[in-house]
């Protein structure tokens, strides 16, 4: 067994610096690496490029980094729930690259799997495809998109073991598995860190080879963005 455990979030984030590119898992506030984000806020490093499907809300998730103006550029697919984000983007303080959600996921997976680029139909004929190579396959047009390059990937899983094997829960899975192994260093935080051998190898979602550092996360808030319920009859 190759041990991936580190003591805490401080040790897990060793080596993060100004101007780096980070991938952050999560969809909305679901499955975000809350501990890593809190530590990045504390470290106050600046000029960051963040690849993340969303940009959090004003006072949680990546919104916390935006609020302190630590982010120079966001690469996302949907940023609708964050007023500060919209303000910084429209005023030109923040550089934003909006890309289709499936392209975002596939650019992570390409980086994870060693593919430099791939063709997708998403965005063909729109401003997303401007300046990009296009090509016809079987009568349909496709756009060439490239794998991401990132310094760190911060992901959150439900359970993990000392070997870095990960299991996700519900839709908190989202981009997290795609980002594992897609950056130079993948840092996984988990709700429950267990000894090697206690997870069933058949039930592992992400093998530990894709994870360099794993730690037991703390104080998960797991904020709900849209609490929707039905009433009992």
């Amino acid at each position: 067994m190759i041990r991936k455990t580190v003591l805490n979030v401080t040790e897990a984030l060793t080596g993060v610096k100004d101007s780096m590119t980070f991938m952050l898992g999560g969809f909305g506030l679901c499955g975000i690496p809350e501990n890593a984000i809190a530590e990045l806020v504390k470290l106050n490093i600046k000029g960051l490029t963040c690849i993340s499907n969303n940009a959090g809300v004003d006072d949680f998730g990546l919104g916390l980094l935006l609020h302190k103006k630590q982010i120079k550029k966001m690469v996302s697919s949907y940023v609708g729930e964050n007023d500060e984000f919209e303000r910084q983007m429209l005023s030109g303080e923040l550089d934003v690259e909006l890309i289709p959600q499936g392209t975002l996921a596939e650019r992570c997976r390409a980086a994870q799997g060693g593919s430099p680029a791939f063709y997708t139909p998403a965005g063909y004929g729109t401003e997303v495809a401007e300046g990009k190579e296009t090509r016809e396959f079987n009568g349909k047009m496709y756009v060439l998109e490239h794998a991401f390059e990132a310094d760190f990937a911060f992901v959150k899983a439900w359970k993990g073991d000392e070997a870095g094997n990960l299991i996700f829960k519900g839709t908190a899975r989202n981009f997290n598995p795609c980002m594992c192994g897609a950056a130079k260093i993948t840092v996984a935080e988990v709700e429950e860190l267990v000894p090697a051998g206690s997870l069933n190898p058949d039930e592992i979602h992400i093998p530990g080879i894709f994870v360099q550092r794993i730690f037991q996360g703390e104080h998960y808030e797991k904020r709900i963005e849209q609490r929707t319920v039905r009433t009992r009859e």
């Binding site: 679901c30 429209l90 909006l98 997708t120 039905r230």
Partner: protein
Amino acid sequence: MLDKNGIAKRIAKELKDKYFVNLGIGIPTLVANYIPQGIEVEFQSENGVLGMGPFPFEGEEDADIINAGKQTITTMPGASFFDSAMSFSMIRGQHVDLTILGAMEVAENGDIANWKIPGKMVKGMGGAMDLVASAENIIVAMMHTNRAGESKLLKKCSLPLTGVGCVKKIVTNLGFLEVTDDGFKLLERAPGVSVEDIKNATKGNLIIEENIPEMILD
């Protein structure tokens, strides 16, 4: 004229047995409330769930189980969770049979715009570009005109496009239309709406053949 629920009700009649369906945010979400009797459909949400169920009972919300609108949901028997890359493999690979989404503008050639108003509103395309570029079958659910009373069914979209030549059908508060090679073909009128009303509210080429029936909702 239809309200949002009426639009959803009419679209629900387009669901077919064994369809996997992706519902966009807004009116499309309401379609799930009107699944016709006797058919089996499964709803996919691109954040990573197939077999989406209704909202949870109060007190049973789980922050880890949401839909693409970030709403708390439940799952149906037979449901599955997966990552974002696999989710879009389902979409781009055309395993999802029907996509229902909202729009700001639709052009008579099937172009759609729904993600950006330059200088004003930039929310992003989310999964919409992947969905419209891939799905064989796309139905748009929207109001016929915008808040300023201007038609959303145009000759050419004025806003940045989400996809080209992809919309097949449109259900609005005024009617049910099909996108053809020659423009918007009016198929049905909403209850209490005249052909003239629809003409007045449509800027793109509108094809009206004789006797446009009023739609039947129940």
